[in-house]
């Protein structure tokens, strides 16, 4: 039952549906560190969802119910994170591992805006970013140069902020 809930959560979380799809279809040999991080990452999501489920709210609502409302910048960070998930699937495991390490160590904390923001502050320190850029650990996200840590921060926002609902399908007889 709990397992079921985790899967639902994965699909329900914004950006995560695409992410899970990628993981499901991709053949990859995750390194031990990557695999471990991913497990912790998913585990964190599972715990938060289970806890919220116990309160009788859906996981989707749980994130939206976070005490901080998403600002326009948060929404853009989340959208950029989703862009990465959709367009750079080969990087996602690596970015998850980085993001994971920047999250607070308490496992029962959900990935919400405050925790994403706190992790972002750690991930985007100038020296850390500069060192990554020097090592070649960067990606162009829709044209923007991002260090891997910066990219990882956007991934956290993609998890913390719901994706905009897809446009409702128009009846067949209505011209868009």
């Amino acid at each position: 039952m709990q397992m079921q809930s985790t899967n639902n959560t994965s699909r329900g979380l914004p950006g995560h549906a695409a992410h899970s799809g990628i993981q499901g279809t991709r053949q990859h040999n995750a390194s031990m560190a990557g695999a471990c991080s991913r497990r912790r990452f998913l585990c964190r999501t599972a715990i938060s969802v289970t806890a919220i489920a116990a309160l009788g709210v859906t996981p989707f609502n749980a994130v939206r119910a976070a005490p901080v409302t998403a600002q326009p910048a948060d929404l853009e960070l989340a959208a950029l994170g989703r862009w990465l998930i959709d367009n750079k699937p080969e990087l996602v495991t690596r970015l998850e591992a980085i993001a994971n390490d920047a999250l607070p160590s308490t496992l029962d904390q959900p990935i919400d805006l405050p925790s994403a923001s706190a992790a972002k502050a750690r991930l985007t320190q100038h020296q850390r970013v500069a060192d990554e850029l020097a090592r070649g650990d960067f990606v162009f996200a829709d044209g923007w140069l991002l260090s891997h840590s910066e990219a990882a921060a956007t991934l956290l926002f993609a998890l913390a902020v719901p994706a905009p609902a897809p446009a409702a399908a128009l009846p067949a007889n209505v011209q868009p």
Partner: protein, 492 residues
């Protein structure tokens, strides 16, 4: 004296020590310096004193390879002063590094080093009204160290490069030098006359005359001890190839090299630089002296490490200031250096790049069977940029993006993530009569003399065996002064 060729008696012959074809940056500089040194000079110019469509149409060119009309349009002018009638006047010397052969770039390097050209760079600076030759960007020496700079002297993989602009009164070389030419008793400048054929003697080793044609139907002849073609990289090759009556395949073309190695500095808008350093001025020129410009180029160390050709980038205030996709997100991610506050509003600049094309024998000017209005075969340009050139430009863009981000200056948004798409020619056409030590490697020797001909010379950027990343005209002027030195010694 300036003579309109259209009204001269048909068949007339002009004589002088040196006959120069073309009155652009190369031809004008050479003619006036030779005259100053005592040589008599004929300067033949295809156009008149102002732009006329009829003469400009003689520049019509067939295009192949990667050349498109947009890449070539407006890159050459056919009247007194040549393309300096609309150049930007931006000057810079070549650096030591550009003269050296680079093992990772086939056919690269010059047959001499910077030291051979240095005294002429100094003379060229004096001639063009530039206070001095400057290669490095040294804020202390410029007296601007206390002002906020957009470009710092060095970043990892990047270095600042400084350019100077020719002062306004000298930038249009035709109007600037017209009176000097017309009042100089040593110079006969024949305008409205297009050189159509170069005639070698029967042995094919020496030029005996040149034939000029006018739209009024006259044929004029020019005789001199030495002849110099200064008609630009496409036309220099065209004239040599079209002069094939005595020597098959054209003059100087024994090794099938005339017209090959055509190069330009392809240009693109790389993208935008979102300034994240709140103290950075939003203009590269803000803190510099008038007529000075600063931009970036990759360091020799980076070029060696990554096997790159040259690259230069400039930034310009972006107009109109639209919001870039994800700009808010980027401003959230990028933390300013040290104690600085985040900038409250977005400021971004357009990044323009020019990059060096490697000398490629397949990039070439040949002749079309079609004739122009004066009965001369039109040129055909097959401009070929190699995959290595594109990869080098892409890597350079990456190094640039990383360096400015590391420096805390700003964040780059690339327009073409897959690598630059060539959208503009630089208007810097080069390489079709390259200099070399050995005749098998080039068309001309270190003095610009066609290897196989005793008295035929070439001037201008068609001599460049490697194009570098620097604007060419300052080097064209320096080479012309060097050539004047050499030619005048032959006439003493």
């Amino acid at each position: 004296m300036i003579i309109g060729g259209a009204n001269v008696q048909d068949g007339r012959t002009f004589e002088a020590d040196v006959c120069i074809v073309g009155s652009g940056a190369a031809g004008l500089t050479l003619a006036l310096d030779l005259a100053r040194r005592g040589a008599s000079v004929i300067l033949v110019e295809s156009g008149g004193m102002v732009f006329q469509k009829q003469s400009n149409d003689l520049l019509d060119i067939e295009l192949g390879g990667q050349s498109t009309p947009a890449l070539i349009a407006g890159t050459r002018e056919r009247f007194f002063g040549g393309t300096t009638n609309h150049w930007g006047g931006v000057c810079r010397t070549f650096d030591d590094f550009e003269f050296e052969p680079h093992p990772w770039v086939p056919n690269s390097g010059w047959p001499f080093g910077l030291d051979a050209l240095d005294p002429y760079y100094t003379a060229a600076a004096a001639l063009l009204g530039l206070p001095e030759v400057r290669r490095t960007y040294d804020p202390e020496a410029l007296g601007v160290a206390d002002r906020p700079a957009l470009v710092r002297p060095t970043e990892r993989d990047l270095q600042a490069a400084i350019w100077r602009r020719v002062p306004l009164e000298r930038v249009r070389m035709g109007p600037w030098r017209k009176d000097e030419v017309s009042s100089n008793p040593k110079i006969q400048c024949v305008v409205h006359t297009t050189i159509a054929q170069i005639h070698p003697g029967p042995s094919g080793e020496k030029i005996t005359s040149m034939e000029g044609r006018t739209f009024s139907g006259r044929t004029l002849h020019f005789r001199a001890r030495d002849y110099v073609l200064c008609t630009g990289a496409v036309e220099n090759a065209r004239l040599l190839l079209a002069s094939d009556a005595v020597v098959p395949h054209g003059l100087g073309n024994e090794h099938d090299l005339v017209g090959r190695y055509f190069m330009d500095h392809p240009a693109n808008v790389l993208g935008q630089l979102l300034l994240t350093d709140p103290d950075a001025p939003a203009s590269q020129e803000e803190h510099l002296a008038e007529n000075e410009l600063v931009g970036w180029t990759t360091t020799p160390a980076a070029r060696r490490a990554h096997k790159l050709q040259g690259f230069m980038s400039w930034v310009f205030p972006r107009r109109p200031p639209e919001k870039l996709p994800y700009e808010l997100a980027i401003r959230e991610l990028v933390q300013p250096l040290g104690q600085r506050q985040k900038p409250s509003s977005s400021r971004y600049l357009n990044i323009v790049i020019n990059w060096e094309q490697s000398p490629n024998p397949l990039s070439r000017v040949t002749l079309s069977p079609k004739l122009d209005a004066l009965g001369i075969r039109k040129p055909h340009l097959h401009w070929a940029v190699t995959a290595e050139d594109l990869a080098s430009a892409k890597k350079s863009c990456e190094l640039f993006s990383v360096a400015v981000a590391r420096a805390g200056l700003g964040r780059v948004h690339l327009e073409e993530v897959a690598g630059p798409v060539i959208t503009m020619g630089g208007g810097h056409q080069m390489g079709t009569t390259r200099m070399s030590i050995a005749p098998k490697d080039g068309v001309t020797d270190v003095n610009g003399r066609v290897h196989s001909l005793d008295n035929l010379f070439v001037g201008g950027s068609s001599l460049f065996p490697t194009g570098g990343w620097q604007h060419p005209t300052f080097s064209i002027v320096a080479l012309a002064l060097r050539q004047a030195d050499f030619l005048s010694s032959r006439h003493r």
